[in-house]
């Protein structure tokens, strides 16, 4: 083994080491991109609209299963009236559960899986500053979450437009919305969903730094989301429900009213930001003090 001149710097670090250069966004992006779960999740986001499209093409009847579920059934009925409607329908069917699971997967698995593989301690010994490690991991998780949302919407819009054409967005209560305005509204829906999903992201991330079991973090976040959804169904709880994280989950339907109803969306965004800030803050607070023993 050759002898090297040993360099050192003021802070005692090895030559070439800068805390701000460790585990960059790009590096973490590559680390995560190589994982099956990332590839599968993103792939499924492309696949789902195509599956729905095929179901519409070859399945009997139209979108709704005959059960009357209000807005759901109404939007399913008009899902085939254009690419915009199809994209809206794809969002509707995925918003309440699929996207929640995907976001929980990206954000809940990221730190916990490193802990379970044992690679977390080697990253910390690089040393990647803990705050930086969380920052890079969170940004990459959120990036992939957003990618899922965009891929789903984009694929649905593209596939729907190719199959059903480029028509105004038909709605049950707001009449026809011209394509230009409808695209903006669709973007608004995607943006609102992205903001509300911060709650799941925050919860999953908090669980991720608190446990070594990736499944626990992902499952825990989804479980609590479902629990909140169930509690929200119990009208007897009255005004307590407005503080539930999922209470304003459907507020984006206000964007397909005429004129646009944004009050609930604003409240939903406030709730999402507040919960997100709380969960992410707790995650940071916990991880900065944590004894990493895995």
């Amino acid at each position: 083994m050759a002898t090297e001149t040993m360099t050192s710097t003021v802070d005692g670090s090895a030559g070439g080491y800068r805390p701000t250069a460790t585990l960059t966004f790009r590096t973490e992006l590559r680390r995560q991109a190589s994982r099956r779960r990332t590839q599968l999740s993103l792939g499924f986001m492309v696949l789902l609209p195509l599956v729905i499209l095929l179901a519409f093409e070859f399945g009997g009847g139209n979108g709704s299963g005959g059960g009357d579920r209000g807005q759901f059934a109404a939007l399913a009925d008009i899902a085939k009236s254009g690419g915009l409607n199809f994209a809206l329908f794809a969002l509707l069917v995925s918003a309440s559960f699929l996207l929640v699971v995907v976001v929980a997967l990206f954000c809940g698995d990221t730190v916990a899986s490193e802990a379970s593989w044992g690679s977390l301690r080697y990253l910390l010994a690089v040393p990647v500053p803990r705050a930086r490690l969380l920052g890079s991991k969170l940004l990459v998780s959120l990036f992939y979450s957003l990618m899922s949302l965009v891929l789903l919407t984009g694929t649905a819009l593209l596939a729907g437009t190719l199959r059903y054409g480029w028509h105004p967005l038909r709605t049950t209560v707001a009449g026809d919305i011209q394509p230009g305005s409808a695209v903006l509204r669709l973007l608004g829906i995607v943006a609102f969903l992205a903001v509300t999903l911060l709650i799941v992201a925050g919860l999953a991330f908090l669980l991720s730094v608190a446990t070594d079991a990736p499944l626990g973090a992902v499952g825990g976040a989804v479980l609590l989301q479902i629990l909140s959804g169930i509690l929200d169904q119990i009208t007897a709880l009255g005004s307590v429900r407005v503080i539930l994280p999922t209470h304003y989950g459907d507020a984006w339907l206000g964007l397909i009213s005429n004129p646009v109803q944004t009050d609930d969306m604003v409240k939903g965004a406030i709730a999402a930001l507040a919960y997100g800030a709380l969960f992410f803050g707790l995650a940071w607070w916990h991880f900065m003090r944590k004894d990493v023993v895995s």
Partner: protein, 939 residues
């Protein structure tokens, strides 16, 4: 290893120990919870007291008939003779009782008004008969109640027997408010809601303006009204809606009364039966209704009037409020008009409507009774159904405001041509089957009734005339009008004109389900001779969107109205276009607007918070303690007084001190659980020490300290991304350090790992030993000056172990240092230059291996005769001899030559099977650790 496992488990599953900190935190949480629950559950003082009593009033045409009225008086706690309160008379709707307005009464009482609610005569527990707000009866009752209020010391007075009082009520109660204000000058303000102007016009409407004498009988509503069936009685803005137990119906008929009249006064009952039978009202009957109609006394109303009318109201449509508004305003009396989306068909409307109506009512009363607040503007406010709130599944209404009341014909108008060839339409015999426009009194604000979704026309019985698709969206506020031409040999026709909004996709909607009934007379037999008649359609607030079509439908029957029984065929056509009234309105800002600012504020706050946190983090890093202890600057590692106590109180390391110098390979030796791994964890910055310091090249080591970059480590086994190849793992790891790739010395590291082509295989497929070698290679990436390896030979086969020893020894030769932990004595002895023995969390021995390992004076003998051998050994100068049974003796020869001692034994005739010299480290290790091989965790 059960002992180590249990220790780890204990750490992983912390015992819930009641520390002081936890007790305090728990107490705070419990206190907050208890506080919140009590705050929510504690009965708060309502601020008023309710007295229910029967007040007997002298009423009737000559004011001598005693009638007992069931009343509730809500006296605010703030009111007293010294500080008298303004009063509000709260009247209920038709078929209801004082209990229907209880929530409104409580709301007003908690705002400091003395509220008197009563059950009108003929209803509930009150005595008397129903006279439909007759000036002789119900109005007189109201005047006597004003007298009653005037006698209350806590009610504010404007003069002797003149209390400061407002009358508020909906429907039947609204009619009373108008009538009472007309007959009694003491009334200071009124808020009549969803009520009538002229009962004749309400029940016998004619959309050509011909008047009630030739109107079309509104049979469905009249029936409901008369029998006191399900009537929405709630005051908009507060109470609920719902079916009211029949008050005028047979169920409440007093003994001996006419079962066909219930509690109705005989004259009204007779008039109803006559009108309902013939569909026509005689002048006497119209005069009777006229007495119960504010229309006749509007010029006497001087109390400022807030008129609230519902759009979904086929009983008292917007035109009733319009007539009231114009009549009262003509006196110079302040009038304000508000339209909301509910009504007798639509209920209380969505929450936004209820909130606006309540706000307007309180603002009106506060100003005109208390003088609080500025004069309410005379702007006209209305709301329009916009869609559905997905969260509550209720309709959404948007509020708009127009400066000044524009009336029903709007401020401007748009003419939309409708066309179509003349069409015949059949009048069905006895009006059956009939078209359905709205279901009267559906109540509850059902969307179907609100949007007219239930409208149905009977084929062959109507004529449709369409417009072309609208080029731009038209917001109609007011009464559209259209000219209709009709011909029939009988010279007469009863027709129902409707204006549909046709969505090319989803079909036609009849706004609010409203129709305009017309009774035409003097018709020619041929359409060519027919004169166009202007039909004023019902007042609506509706948005006709661009691309939609207008459809004017002229139908011959409607199930809500009485139409001629004789079958005939009308010739129908529409002349010209539909005039759509519009207004110049501004949206009313939603009170929820505040949330947008909160959102903006929150987002800004979070953005600032994140930036500040990053800046603080950087600053803290820059200003971190970068001082170097000069005396240790060249010493790779100094650990002094290290102590690590876990959160559950378990002490993993109680006191560890040692030093690793350049060129040394230091072995950290100890049994499982001695604290080796915990020490290394602290050294890697994974856990924080409870006490003590670690210096690496003179820099104090804290978690994440930059000096860690000069340290390579393998602790607690390898940690790789299982889905990547070994090579990719090493490359990604190095990339994560952010250091130049050239510094990695990847080739040399791979050489040490010796994995060959296996580095291109995924980690999943690796054996334990392969992973271990790769992990050592990873630790050596960049040739760190201090290499820390935890059990490095774990899983390696003997040739690899031998190779690893050579590598480690060579690694330390050029000024680098290596720290190796192991629980295997032989490994440390053969690999290391120095050794540190740890046991139970403390260092028990420390020094160069040669010093410690050198031959020990102890020798183990396996002999044929233990007793004889012991004797011989003692004789030849052994310091101590101990037997281990089975012919094995351990003797401390104290410097005597082993060969001499063996010769001595043989001479004495003892058979020597084996002579094994013992070594110092082993002695030291075993005597230190003794028979106690328990992990430190078991202490």
């Amino acid at each position: 290893m059960p002992t180590a496992l249990s220790a780890r488990l204990r750490r992983a599953l912390p015992r819930p120990r009641l520390t002081r900190r936890r007790t305090v935190a728990g107490a705070v949480v419990v206190a907050v919870l208890v506080g919140a629950v009590s705050w929510a559950a504690w009965p708060s003082s309502p601020g008023y007291r309710v007295t229910s009593q029967t007040i007997t009033v002298l009423t009737g045409p000559d004011g001598t008939t005693p009638v007992s009225l069931d009343t509730s008086y809500y006296r605010p706690d703030s009111a007293s003779a010294g500080h008298p309160a303004a009063a509000v008379l709260l009247a209920h709707g038709f078929g209801g009782t004082k209990d229907d307005v209880a929530s409104d009464a409580k709301d007003l009482a908690s705002r400091g008004y003395a509220v008197l609610a009563w059950t009108a005569e003929g209803f509930g527990r009150s005595g008397g008969q129903i006279h439909l707000d007759s000036p002789d009866w119900e109005v007189k009752d109201g005047q006597r109640l004003i007298d009653w209020l005037a006698a209350r010391p806590e009610v504010r007075k404007d003069g002797p027997n003149d209390p400061r009082v407002a009358v508020v009520g909906a429907s039947y109660g609204g009619g009373l408010a108008l009538m009472l204000a007309g007959y009694d000058r003491r009334v200071d303000a009124i808020v009549p809601q969803i009520t009538w102007n002229d009962l004749g016009n309400a029940f016998l409407p004619d959309a050509t303006g011909a008047g009630a004498s030739s109107g079309v009988f509104k049979k469905a509503w009249a029936g409901i009204f008369f029998t006191g069936g399900a009537v929405p009685t709630a005051v908009p803005g507060a109470g609920g809606t719902g079916p009211i137990p029949g008050a005028g119906s047979a169920g409440a008929v007093p003994a001996g009364a006419d079962p066909s009249c219930g509690r109705f006064a005989a004259d009204l009952c007779a008039a109803y039966l006559s009108i309902a039978t013939t569909g026509r009202a005689t002048p006497d009957q119209l005069a009777l209704l006229e007495r119960s109609s504010p229309a006749s006394i509007l010029n006497r109303i001087h109390a400022p009037t807030l008129l609230i009318q519902g759009q979904a109201d086929s009983l008292f449509p917007l035109s009733e409020a319009d007539a009231n508004a114009r009549g009262i305003a003509a006196n110079g009396t302040p009038v304000r008009v508000d339209w909301f989306t509910g009504g007798h068909d639509g209920g209380t409307g969505p929450q936004s409507d209820q909130d606006r109506n309540r706000y307007l009512t309180v603002q009106w009363l506060d100003h005109y009774l208390l003088g609080k607040g500025g004069t309410p503007s005379n702007s006209f406010t209305y709301s329009r159904l916009a869609g559905i709130d997905a969260n509550t599944d209720s309709v959404v209404a948007l509020g708009y405001s127009v400066s000044g009341y524009p009336g029903l014909s709007g401020q401007s108008s748009t003419a939309v041509p409708v066309a179509g060839p003349p069409r015949p339409a059949a009048n069905p015999p006895n009006g059956t089957p009939a078209a359905i426009s709205t279901v009267p009194g559906l109540g509850g604000g059902g969307l179907a009734s609100a949007t007219g979704g239930a409208a149905q026309d009977v084929p062959g019985q109507h004529a449709d005339f369409y417009s072309t698709p609208l080029k731009s969206t038209v917001d109609v506020v007011g009464t559209p009008s259209v000219q209709v031409r009709a011909a029939n040999p009988t010279g007469e026709a009863v027709l129902f004109v409707k204006l549909y909004d046709v969505d090319p996709h989803s079909g036609a909607t009849l706004p609010d389900g409203l129709v305009a009934p017309v009774h035409l007379t003097g018709l020619p037999a041929s359409l060519a001779d027919a004169r166009p008649v202007t039909v004023t359609l019902p007042g609506i607030v509706h948005q006709f969107q661009a691309g939609h079509l207008l459809r004017v439908t002229v139908a011959t029957s409607d199930q809500a109205y009485l139409s001629p029984p004789a079958p005939t065929v009308y010739q129908l056509s529409v002349a010209g276009g539909v005039r759509l009234p519009t207004v110049h309105s501004a949206p009313i800002a939603s009170p929820d607007l505040i949330w947008r600012w909160i959102l903006v504020g929150l987002a800004a706050l979070l953005a600032i918070g994140i930036v500040v946190a990053i800046l603080i983090g950087r600053r803290r890093h820059r200003h971190a303690d970068h001082s170097v202890r000069a005396d240790l600057a060249d010493v790779p590692l100094v650990i002094s007084g290290l102590r690590k106590e876990y959160g559950d109180g378990f002490v993993a390391v109680s006191k560890v001190d040692f030093t690793v110098r350049r060129g040394q390979v230091v072995g950290l030796l100890g049994p499982n659980g001695a604290g080796k791994t915990t020490s290394l964890r602290v050294l890697m910055g994974l856990t924080k020490p409870t006490d003590g310091d670690i210096y690496v090249f003179g820099h104090r080591l804290v978690p994440g300290a930059p000096v860690l970059s000069r340290l390579g480590a393998l602790v607690e086994g390898p940690g790789f991304l299982p889905h990547l190849s070994g090579l990719a793992n090493l490359q990604l790891y190095w990339r994560a350090t952010g250091r130049p790739l050239a510094d990695a010395r990847l080739e040399e590291a791979l050489d040490i790992a010796g994995l060959g082509d296996a580095v291109h295989r995924r980690i999943k497929t690796y054996s334990h030993g392969m992973k271990q070698r790769l992990a050592i290679a990873q630790a050596m990436l960049g040739l760190p000056e201090l290499l820390v390896l935890d059990e490095p030979t774990d899983g390696l086969d003997p040739p690899q172990i031998a190779e690893m020893r050579r590598v480690l020894r060579r690694y330390a030769t050029d000024g680098r240092a290596v720290l190796v932990s192991s629980h295997l004595l032989a490994e440390v002895e053969q690999t290391c230059t120095h050794v540190v023995v740890v046991h139970r969390g403390t260092v028990v021995a420390d020094g160069p291996v040669d010093d410690i390992v050198g031959d020990s004076p102890s020798v183990q003998f396996d002999v044929s005769d233990s007793a004889m051998a012991t004797e011989v050994l003692n004789r030849s100068g052994a310091r101590s001899v101990s037997g281990e049974g089975n012919g094995t003796l351990i003797a401390d020869l104290d410097g005597a030559d082993r060969a001499d001692v063996v010769a001595e034994l043989v001479r004495a005739g003892v058979g020597v099977n084996r002579v094994v010299p013992r070594r110092r480290l082993e002695d030291a290790f075993l005597s230190l650790v003794g028979g106690d091989t328990k992990a430190s965790g078991e202490r």
